[in-house]
Amino acid sequence: MAAISVSLINMKGGVGKTTLAAQLAHTADTKRLRTLAIDLDPQANLSQALMGARGYVEHLNQKKPTIVNLFEQYLPPTISSPSPTKCTINDVIIKNAGYWSNTMLDLIPSRLELSNTLKNPTGKERKLAKALTSVVDNYDLIIIDCAPTESILTDAAYHASRYALVPVKPEFLATIGLPLLANSVLEFKSENSDHALDICGIVFNHSSSYSDGPETSASVREVTEEAKKNGWHIYDTHVRYSRSYAKAAREGTPIGSTSHVRTNVPRQFSSFTQEFFKSIGIE
């Protein structure tokens, strides 16, 4: 069966898209799902979180290909290969990039130069989707981490995705991104009526560690109303803030293997992942 492709999207930055993408990728790997994580953000935080800072910088220094080459469709000349060569998706996939020794998690890393794609976007929005067609049978799940602003990269993610997962931080300014996203998805669907793109759900991410105060409750209420209006599902589990998520990104670990993590944090994340996998048809 071909992979199920999910993009993590929100037009607002700082809502925890990358953290969630990295942890979902680790969880899928732990569940022995063949997983491909795609970093579609020029800031390349997902690449750094999965490869570690050293591994990532070494990858760049060795001039190994990234998603930039996939959009540009060629590999530049090098000392060993003195002319430009065609770039296929297999050239940019880093195999076995996960935490576990028997990992089945692969990664397409990003780099800062991906932002240049935005300067010359013509005809690039379907390149990722087209390239993925040759590898979708090799995976069970594809997770795409998107940049927070709407651009050709968001379109590329939509074209490559069956579902969009929307992390929302329950704070007033952070919830403003939601109507923007609704508009963006509706526009995409009207322009691509043959494409089944659904929002699999909204997850309240980075909500307060312990209990919800009045501001959080108000934001949750507003988002719930907005979701109801658009027919979007909201996951029951809130992924609450824990410093361990930041530490997990530094250590390149699944949340449960992060140093000194409190037991309730991986337990709560596991509760969310169960809901998430069920919502996209993976039990």
Binding site: Q48, V57, E58, W100, R250, S257
Partner: protein, 170 residues
Amino acid sequence: MTSKEILEFEVALLLLKYGRKSILQALAGREQISEVEIQSELQALTLAQRNSKAKKKSSPKPFDINSIVRTEDEKGRLLRELNAKFENRTFLPELKDVKRFFDRHGKENKNIKSRAASHGALFRYISTFDVTELKKIIATPAAKSEFSSLGLISDEILKNSNLKRNDETS
């Protein structure tokens, strides 16, 4: 000869010459205690000696890679190389690294109390790996905590910006 050895020699000589019973009787008379008390003191002494020997046995010996590597084939050579790296702290330099190594391989790591104490268990486990896996581990650069992650990425980004600026000005 130490005083303890001289004492042991003289006691052995007396036992040979007069027998155990006569020696104990003479000792009981001299110290004005019963033979039974002497016997029980001897038993307690023997038990204490046994316990101390057992304790000495249980204290961990430093791990010797030769105890698991007896061949000079490629696998043996890789295991020795990895062991040397472990000893000079370029492989799994800290306890947390050892714990993470076990965790990544799905092995229990809660009972590991120190890096040194994990040496034997670690290499007994690693010795089950095949040559390809061993080569992969050796090729993996050691995490060096003296380099900051931010510094590495920042240098990379600034290096690119400098190259761009130089291109623009030239």
